[in-house]
Symmetry: C2
Subunit: 202 residues, 2 copies
Amino acid sequence: MNIGIVVFDDAEELDFVGPWEVLTSSNQVFAWQKQPAPDSIFLVSENGQTVRCAKGMRVEADHSFATCPDLNIILVPGGQGTRREMKNPAMLDFVRRQSARCEWVTSVCTGSLVLTAAGPAQGKRATTHWGAIHELEAIDGVGEVVRDQRYVRDGNLVTSAGVSAGIDMALWLTGERFGKEHGALVQKSIQYAPEPPFEVAW
Amino acid sequence: MNIGIVVFDDAEELDFVGPWEVLTSSNQVFAWQKQPAPDSIFLVSENGQTVRCAKGMRVEADHSFATCPDLNIILVPGGQGTRREMKNPAMLDFVRRQSARCEWVTSVCTGSLVLTAAGPAQGKRATTHWGAIHELEAIDGVGEVVRDQRYVRDGNLVTSAGVSAGIDMALWLTGERFGKEHGALVQKSIQYAPEPPFEVAW
């Protein structure tokens, strides 16, 4: 399966590196079990060039929109750059065209703004970062906007809440694809037994 | 404060991007409050060149060991590459030299193998990825190796368990430096309210 993670300037680092770690660790767990790694996971930017993320990390892309193979799973992260990308015709065309044949269409954080502007999330149940709920609600064609869930599935569309929620979503998706036993091994491999240190008022 | 995150070939992506996201989001929370951002956070590789991480992501460094300013906080991530780096004299010298004047010396996952080989963690209480406990115990000069804690503090040394534990550690450290109220705002900004989907036998 080809899994394409779309990156762009001002994409939020953890939005895409969280799922990247989960999805690539799934391959690694299969390798430990002497089974073939089923997924090819790569980063795609519009021109195939290095992006400068929201917090300044510079990450190289593996493909441009033009060289990107047909995707089975697409993931659009969030970050401040989504406000530009939701109006970028090249991004909207790429997301729309690839999503049409994907088995799973996914986003993290404000990536759902792009999925809604591009079409695939229109009329669907979806979520986003808690601070961007109103921005999502304001997009033409938006469906039901869900709050207070880590990720929301509507058919083959799975949208996540903010930043770190992409880890939960990617683990869930791994379990859907390969079973809960495999998903649990991936969760164990990244020692995901989180203990957030503070009480937060949401 | 200069916060240097050391990267190298086969560093584990989430090991350093988790803390990167937390530490840079701390700056952002201050900016939202119209306060100056207190930290300069950057990636340092031996030659200042792009590294190819454990799962294939290519990330550009901001500094080489030679150009890196004096650090106030150092963070060494894990990943398969630590087995090479714990025998790399240039890495050991850099970590030893910088750690000597750091306010905080930190690691994620098998980064503690490097901190122990280099000296700063010798004789101290420390932890690592659950699968690397015996490797840490086998290093000359190792102190007490702790299991089943997300992060372990011994003086100004803070070592984390595997991969995702760096997020918890970086949030805790942010609370130590700037107070729990600020730490909670950072935790909220990355919507860190995790819900691991699977039951894991540890």
